[in-house]
Symmetry: C2
Subunit: 296 residues, 2 copies
């Protein structure tokens, strides 16, 4: 734990949450209790399902119900059955009335004004610097909120990642990518104790993955390391790779290896900088041009 860095983060938290956060609430509230204002805001002009609101705002079911009743009796919101045909009959959707939409627009305007009240005192060039730095902080905070953990390869989110991975490489390989021509990976190989599939999530949305297969009497094999481009460039690939290596190392494997395509230049750079050395082919993967190994 680096004391300097920690102190800097704490200073930042203090300044930003006290000044920006508190003031923002003030702008939001406009006479109404903050919880109501936030709820109204979160419902938004397109409406939202009650369950979604509950998780997004982290509210108790009963409390949320009561807040909705209040907004309803103020004529700002109507709550009715979800309009999606064949939907779950228990689910209900909250929608803004005309008055509610007007109120929402007012909140939107005030949020704009608040943002502008931060920018207005600055010169144009300082405004630019502030916004750039804010975007950087935001992206890196996002990266730090990513959670990496094991996940069954059959999980829909895992499947979604693998599909995204296949789409990505199909676009980048010289001759496209046909999974049928590639060496197959069975789900069972990526379930402990045979191996593991790691899923990276941001707010429980999948944003990356990676897998390792613990070959008996051979180096472990790393597969399917993929990072969504929404969080690319933030070190997530390295993190996943590191977790996979750790998984293998903790179970007694002393080396990991992998194959990759010559077009995946950032991946290759990542492997090299993570201590991988190029080795002769250890398999007949149709799409591979480079084979790497690392001693753990």
């Amino acid at each position: 734990m680096d004391v300097e860095l920690i102190a800097a983060v704490r200073r930042f938290n203090r300044t930003v949450t006290q000044r920006v956060g508190a003031l923002d609430d003030g702008y939001m509230a406009r006479g109404r209790p903050l919880a109501q204002a936030r709820l109204l805001w979160e419902i938004g002009p397109d409406g939202a399902e009650v369950a979604a609101l509950r998780t997004r705002l982290g509210l108790d079911s009963g409390y949320l119900s009561r807040l909705l009743r209040t907004l309803e009796s103020d004529g700002l919101v109507t709550v009715g059955p979800a309009d999606r045909a064949a939907g779950d009959g228990r689910v209900r959707t909250a929608t803004l009335t005309a008055a509610g939409r007007a109120e929402w627009t007012e909140l939107d305007t005030r949020s704009d004004e608040f943002a502008w009240s931060i920018l207005a005192p600055l010169t144009a060039s300082h405004r630019g610097r502030l916004v750039t730095a804010m975007a950087e902080v935001e992206r890196l905070l996002m990266a730090s909120m990513v959670v990496v953990g094991p996940c069954p390869p059959a999980d829909p989110r895992a499947r979604a990642c693998v599909r995204a991975y296949a789409r990505d490489i199909a676009r980048r390989f010289d001759d496209g990518y046909d999974p049928a021509l590639s060496r197959p990976v069975r789900d069972d190989d990526l379930v402990p104790p045979a191996g593991v599939f790691l899923l990276a999530t941001l707010d429980s949305e999948p944003v990356g993955c990676g897998a390792v297969k613990l070959h008996p009497d051979a180096p472990a094999e790393i597969k399917r390391v993929w990072v969504s481009d929404t969080v690319r460039g933030l070190g997530l690939g390295r993190r996943i790779l590191h977790e996979l290596e750790r998984y293998a190392a903790e179970r007694g494997w002393t080396a990991v290896r992998l194959d990759t395509n010559r077009n995946l230049t950032e991946a290759i750079a990542l492997y090299r900088s993570a201590g991988y050395r190029e080795i002769p082919p250890f398999n007949d993967e149709r799409y591979a041009h480079h084979w790497f190994e690392k001693t753990l």
Copy 2:
């Protein structure tokens, strides 16, 4: 109002205050009401005067009293007369007991842990980037919180600024600075309608100043533009200058002028870039090497 910039600020506010702010509160509270935890934190290991706590936390006098009673009855705090000899007998100081200090240390540790929980998932280089960007955001937010407004030149904060200004230039001029040798400025000249003294404050602490004297039948004269080095490089000088020009322009003056020393290179650069042109000497100021004028 630039829509792009505003949107960026709003995204930032949303992400950062929701995640960092809310989580931070959680770390702070540890079972205790947030207001109590914050108060305990603010008292700190060295104790604090009740009045200071009131302004720092922005609490109602009665409310703060009650919070202190609660902490007192929990054995965390003692409130006694201010220990400073010959102090104001009404003022009281809150001090942490041993238990209170332990609690404070616990909060401190948790704050460290929280900060580290943000940094930990990142690689070393991303940590560096995050901290750098955070510092930039913090500094620029600070700049945007600076309030510039008229202030009587006899106000202690104004005096403090002018003293700091004199110290600064004494250090930078080739032959030091003796106010007695410089052209005198009378307070009356910097009080409306003769002129104005502007004070820049951050959290009501003075961080800069500037003055303009509205000479009858002559260009207005700008004096004593100074910015504390805690907020230097953030465009505050330009802002003060601009406000002074506006003051003169609004009252019918069509030109402003000023004199300056050759060693104040940033100031000279500021004047030039703000549209000032060098003119022949218009006074016999002992310490001046350059004279500037700007048509409003």
